[in-house]
Symmetry: C2
Subunit: 294 residues, 2 copies
């Protein structure tokens, strides 16, 4: 068995960025001590989830990747522990703003940046105010923990990016996340729907997924959200093989990388696809084609 | 509430085609008596699942849609009961062979034919020997039970056709199926993986799915398969709201069509897609584009 131990962490975040980074590091060390080689931190963990409100001041939090404190900090943690660390951060490049992720390899090298492609917008989740839709496409990185693809939060609701990562050879897909209650409707509980959607990406692509979600109640100026945690890891059939509750924690799971590769080949779905019939995926409404045809 | 009752049936099939049609009709009548307006019969129910073996004689079973006995029979059943009946059959058109489905509306009209696009091939499931890959694309039909999309068995493992049907306005997706044990590996139990994959299509597209699967042990010349039933119906979040065991049965569920439409608009995923980034979906390997670009 070609065993790879992977981990997801989850934590609450305050306005004390240094403390959030410290908590994240504590959880990463705990995961590394359990043998994890790929450890996922949640989305935008340096601060509370500021998209609860619409306020220009929060745009000041964005910085170029080379100046982001969390990325810098976890490059040295990755190097020291020999672990792969995807780190979510708020990126500014000239006048553009992105909800980004830096893929940090086990030697501390930053392999590249993925910019969240699907940007939500609704009560308590005003992301279109803060972020440009990402322009990086969907990279798969060769890391010390194998071929890893990263998507960010709302991306997890879309079958297309997960499929593209699988086509490009991803052996695991990570989803740092911040999702919780819906301010406009306290009865709406999305947790199971959220898990099922990603379990579907995992099952349909025969690729394990790791989701790391925020916890805690955060009160903004106009909205409050209770983040539901429930971070989880799936096997190659989409079954949950590790799952967190709503507390600060680390979950780990062992993947058999070679066995998973065999399943992807043997099950036959990547042999039997019909790209000649998929043109309508490039439309928004099943009819008109998007201007930017490939 | 704009209630629509839908149903899935499941049964064992012998070489007595008339008897199989009779059993199917009995189950359809049972579902109609429970108020179902859309009733799904399983894949290729006129015969045993002949793809267990590779034998030219079974190609003789194929016929043009206008000559297929099950399609003709269930057109009159649909008209009598006022129910929508998607009917799976083995189609021959000139020298081409398809694993097809006729969509029969509640007045008995045949609205059109869908030809299975994704053709499996492996021990016990030698479908590439019997069927051309379908050439119809993925139609959505306006039926007396709303906008219905139909996919057939192996199609259910692919995110692309389900997404295309959702983009084209499908309000429910039906999957007639024949899946069971794997002759080459008795330990391989695909039932949960099979359900999770379709639950994912349902969750990610906010569209209920109905799957109808064969039951019974069938012994071929070189392979035997025990079909596992487990037909099921999901709500708009991919949760199972009805599920069968391994016996002959009818399952029904009530969908709130208007509420489901609201969920699809309000959740935001069809607003936030990025077709400009999806070009790689038209490749087989994430690199080279298929020759037939749209």
């Amino acid at each position: 068995m070609s065993a790879l131990i992977v981990a997801a962490t989850q934590m609450a975040c305050s306005w004390d960025a240094a403390h959030n980074i410290e908590t994240g590091e504590k959880l990463v060390r705990e995961a590394a001590a359990k043998g994890a080689k790929l450890i996922l931190l949640q989305e935008l963990f340096e601060t509370p989830y500021f998209c609860k409100d619409v306020d220009y001041k929060y745009m000041q939090l964005a910085a170029p990747v080379g100046e982001n404190k969390a990325v810098q900090h976890f490059q040295s943690v990755a190097r020291e522990l020999g672990v792969v660390l995807p780190v979510s951060f708020y990126e500014r490049e000239n006048n553009a703003l992105y909800n980004s992720l830096a893929m940090i390899d086990a030697d501390g090298t930053m392999l590249g940046v993925y910019r969240k492609s699907h940007i939500p917008d609704g009560p308590g989740y005003h992301e279109k105010f803060y972020f440009n839709p990402g322009d990086t496409g969907f990279p798969v990185w060769e890391t010390a923990a194998g071929k890893v693809g990263a998507l960010v939060c709302w991306d997890q609701w879309f079958s297309e990016p997960a499929r593209i990562l699988a086509l490009k050879g991803a052996e695991v897909i990570v989803y740092p996340t911040a999702i919780g209650s819906e301010p406009q409707d306290p009865t709406l509980q999305s947790k199971d729907h959220w898990q099922r959607t990603m379990q579907g990406h995992s099952a349909g692509n025969l690729v394990p997924v790791i989701a790391s979600n925020r916890i805690g109640r955060e009160v903004g100026e106009k909205a409050e959200i209770t983040f539901y945690g429930a971070s989880f890891i799936t096997d190659v059939t989409g079954a949950k093989i590790a799952e967190a509750g709503t507390d600060e924690t680390v979950i780990t799971a062992t993947l058999d990388v070679e066995a998973n590769r065999r399943v992807r080949l043997n099950w036959g779905i990547f042999r039997d696809r019909r790209p000649d019939l998929y043109g309508e995926l490039l439309s928004l409404d099943g009819k008109h084609r998007h201007a930017s045809k490939p």
